[in-house]
Assembly symmetry: C2
Homo-oligomer: 121 residues x 2
């Protein structure tokens, strides 16, 4: 039932790597959140809440936590009167920009490819 590992080690590793990457970007919101923070450099909770159309505070909270665990963003609590929390991309998080740019470019090409007329598939 199992192929001998030696025969597919490289492919398997590739697969796993892709899987890891996709795992970080799972759900409906992650890239938008990253994209938002990336664009503004530093961003507060409620600002992101506003940037990302349609997300709920519960989701945002959950997603941010996951991103933090994955070392993509850093959370800083500011000692203002009503608490303020700032999020920013880590050095590692910033390396995602390449991928986002790639996806952006590809997405535009794709839209042209699939249909030249409408804007929402």
């Amino acid at each position: 039932m199992e192929c001998k590992p030696e025969f597919q080690t490289d492919r398997k590793k590739e697969m796993m790597a892709v899987h890891d990457a996709m795992d970080v970007l799972n759900g409906k919101w992650k890239i938008y959140i990253i994209s938002s923070i990336c664009h503004y450099n530093k961003r507060r909770f409620s600002d992101i809440l506003n940037d990302v159309t349609g997300i709920s505070n519960k989701m945002l909270s959950k997603e941010l936590k996951e991103l933090e665990i994955n070392k993509l963003i850093e959370r800083t609590v500011l000692d203002t009167h009503p608490i303020t929390v700032q999020y920013e991309l880590t050095k590692h998080g910033k390396t995602l920009k390449t991928i986002i740019d790639n996806l952006t470019a590809w997405g535009m090409e794709h839209r042209k490819e699939v249909t030249g007329k409408n804007q929402q598939e």
Copy 2:
């Protein structure tokens, strides 16, 4: 409640483009399927079924259909005794390789970044 569209047109377009791209790669299986076909150039249904660990025929069937709709793969029915179906990437589908490679590279870096020891987060 709505920002004036003119102020965010480019950002919105970027968002949409990323969304389009992610939409094509949604679900648990798409990239693995593409990756499989890409690696072998042409691939039959049951071969892919074997390549992609854990996928069910129902899922594979569904995913392939979506990929075909999105013009990423091409389906060819071969007139053999028991029917045979071959899938291959379209020219457009092949442009995804860049992204997959990117994700692969990033995924490897990510694993190192998050933890240097284990292999499954």
